[in-house]
């Protein structure tokens, strides 16, 4: 049932369709319920529940510290390696999780989409929101680790900046970008199954072109703009800049990153909407 009254016109659309924002807003309760379903269903099935969100970044950080910092002796910008990696993993894990869940949207929900209509964008948007829960848990983990470090090193030179309050804006950019790429992959996977294999692989490789295990400062200055074309690079660096006080970002890099994010989001929505209208016929 459409949650609003009024005339519905059903006709073939040619080319790309604009975003039906009004309709999407009418389905906000469904977004909320999908977020809540993801959350409840996930914890009912696991023994450790939300603790998994703590283990995963902790273990990754330990391994990164051992391999990249101690064995390979890569720079961590003068920061304690644990905090350096953990901080970079915050936005990265959120991106990887969201990208994973949104890219499977159409294929995973084919049964549901074949039986009932609601704006298909509801599902990926719900995924973007429900992954914020995991992010929040990992953020708490970071704050705890940060507190422990500061307490044991009173003379530490690094520290949270007052403009860390801007963090939600950076997170918003990561959310927008994950949604954009996720929608691209969702559309492509619905048409070509090859992309399902590709997307896992893609995330793995992507991490290496993003300054997670190395600081952006290690990239020669004239190349940094090229790194910023990867819209994840600047947010990861910005997280470290805001939370730990070191990072090589400037207005140009931020502008490039934001422009790329906007392009990914807009094109992602358009491509997704083009595929969603008939994808049940080919699934």
């Amino acid at each position: 049932m459409t949650p609003f009254s009024g005339e519905i016109a059903i006709r073939p659309t040619r080319g790309f369709r604009g975003l039906a924002a009004r309709e999407l807003w009418a389905y906000r309760d469904l977004v909320f319920l999908f977020v809540w379903r993801d959350f409840v269903a996930r914890y009912k099935q696991t023994v450790l529940g939300p603790l998994w969100f703590v283990f995963q970044p902790l273990i990754t950080t330990v391994i990164f510290t051992a391999v990249f910092s101690h064995i390979a002796e890569l720079s961590t910008d003068g920061l304690p390696p644990t905090l350096f990696y953990l901080c970079g993993l915050l936005p990265w894990n959120y991106f990887a999780q969201t990208f994973n869940s949104t890219s499977g949207t159409l294929v995973a929900n084919a049964g549901l989409f074949g039986k009932v209509y609601f704006p298909r964008l509801v599902v990926p948007i719900a995924a973007v929101i429900s992954n914020l829960i995991a992010f929040a848990i990992q953020f708490v983990l970071f704050v705890v680790m940060y507190g422990l470090h500061r307490a044991s090193h009173v003379d530490a030179t690094y520290g949270m900046r007052w403009d860390a309050l801007l963090l939600p804006l950076v997170l918003l950019q990561v959310a927008a970008f994950s949604l954009g790429v996720g929608l691209w992959l969702a559309a492509l996977t619905a048409k070509f199954r090859d992309f399902a294999v590709l997307s896992t692989f893609l995330v793995q490789l992507w991490m290496y072109v993003t300054p997670i295990i190395y600081p952006l400062a290690k990239v020669p200055e004239q190349w940094r703009v090229w790194v910023a074309i990867n819209p994840m690079a600047v947010p990861v660096e910005a997280f470290r800049y805001l939370l730990l006080g070191t990072g090589a970002i400037n207005a140009t890099l931020i502008a490039v990153s934001l422009a790329m994010t906007a392009a990914a989001l807009v094109s992602g929505v358009l491509v997704f909407q083009r595929v969603e209208k008939t994808f049940v016929d080919v699934i």
Partner: protein, 415 residues
């Protein structure tokens, strides 16, 4: 007359056969190369029009039934009107809140409780949380699951599952309700309750209902008007009684004894591994009550299929199943290699069907649940009275089964 609440104008839908299922990059690349060479690739030529230029109007408060054989385009029409897929041409205007029920309990999550699923399913069907909260008690009472409302749905019986799903659906308050044959699930008493609720919905509150069914009885019972679809086109529109009568009459085409099912059913047919390709009824001889009956099923396998059993069903032309013969009731399940053209014959020593007209259904499955092919009401037979037909049956041919039994009662008394 008021403005129609549903207006369908020239609606068409084309499927490309052979491209159903997601393609791989390689196939797409080949097709792209063909296009560069300005040749239509073979896949592009196999088109199938599931709907062709369908037009009709529905006034507010009407209950309209959609009838037609399998593959006539009924489901495609519902999918387009429910906005699950887009039409290829034409348009449809729906003036009001639309609820479509193509399935019961869509989106139920097994780990969530009954109560949680009511909210989830309600929202998927378009209710707001506030609406669901207001109707929660009513829904729970309608579904008769008060005691299990906080139990995860995975512990529900299939009956409870269906009741919960329908209870949510029945409490939507749309102006237009689109229903597929969802009532064919659940126990009989609950089916009656659902039909009652549907009648209440349409008559009581003046809601518009579009109802697709194979059960012609419920179409004449519930609907004022009916649309008959045949091969994707509107064959007839009119009062439900008239259209159903016309439809039943059309099934009285002279009965044949040989059928070719290669192209039967269109895009909705699922027969990827084993396909029933033809039927020969009684070796071309007349079909007679009480006499032996044989039917030869021709089939083709595309893959190795194990534990195959075939089924032959007799039903009324209105769609009610009367009797089914399964080959595995006699212990026969067979394994067939891939790419086999096979024949299997079923022989009934005495045909129990009384004189009259019947629809024949065929099916094949692998094991107990793996459906391979299903052709409901794919052919028609006329059963003639025979030497064993009881005189009363010849005088009033009512159809149906006539079976022998032992009758026990008080000993005959003489006056």
């Amino acid at each position: 007359m008021s403005r129609p609440i549903i207006e369908v104008r020239g609606l068409s839908k084309r499927y490309r056969l052979g491209t159903i299922g997601a393609t791989s990059l390689r196939e797409e690349f080949n097709r792209w190369c063909d296009r560069l060479r300005r040749q239509a690739s073979p896949a592009d030529q196999r088109e199938f029009w599931a709907l062709r230029d369908v037009s009709f109007e529905v006034s507010p408060g009407e209950v309209v039934g959609i009838i037609g054989r399998n593959g006539a385009g009924k489901s495609t029409l519902l999918k387009i009107l429910s906005r699950i897929t887009e039409p290829t041409g034409g348009e449809a205007l729906l003036r009001g809140r639309v609820a479509s029920l193509l399935e019961i309990g869509t989106g139920f999550h097994p780990e969530l409780t009954g109560r949680e699923n009511i909210f989830l399913n309600g929202a998927i069907l378009g209710m707001t949380r506030a609406e669901v909260r207001r109707k929660l008690d009513e829904i729970v009472a309608f579904a008769e699951i008060e005691k299990f409302i906080d139990t995860p749905v995975k512990r529900y019986s299939s009956g409870m599952h269906v009741r919960l799903g329908f209870a949510v659906a029945a409490h939507l308050e749309p102006e237009i309700l689109i229903v597929d044959e969802v009532l064919s699930v659940g126990d009989y008493a609950f089916q009656r309750k659902c039909l009652g609720k549907m009648e209440e919905v349409s008559r009581g509150d003046g809601r518009t209902v579009l109802f697709v069914s194979h059960n012609l009885g419920s179409v004449t019972g519930l609907c004022g008007r009916a649309v008959w679809l045949a091969q994707g086109r509107v064959q007839s529109i009119g009062t439900a009684d008239a259209v159903v009568a016309e439809y039943v009459r059309s099934q009285t085409e002279p009965t044949r004894s040989d059928y070719d099912f290669h192209a039967w059913g269109g895009a909705e047919r699922c027969s990827a591994r084993l396909m029933i390709t033809g039927l020969r009824v009684n070796d071309g001889a007349a079909v007679t009550h009480g006499e032996p009956f044989r039917a030869r099923l021709f089939f083709r396998t595309q893959a190795l299929v194990e534990g195959v059993s075939f089924a032959l069903g007799f039903g009324t032309v209105e769609g009610t199943m009367l009797a089914t013969y399964d080959s595995d009731l006699g212990g026969q399940r067979r394994t067939y290699p891939a790419d086999l053209e096979g024949v299997i014959e079923v022989i009934l020593p005495e045909l129990p069907l009384g004189p009259g007209r019947y629809a024949l259904s065929l099916g094949a499955r692998s094991g107990d649940a793996g459906g391979l092919d299903h052709l409901p009401a794919c052919s028609v037979i006329d059963v003639q009275p025979g030497p064993r037909t009881h005189a009363s049956f010849v005088h009033s041919p009512g159809g149906g089964l006539r079976l022998a039994a032992e009758w026990v009662g008080p000993a005959p008394t003489s006056k």
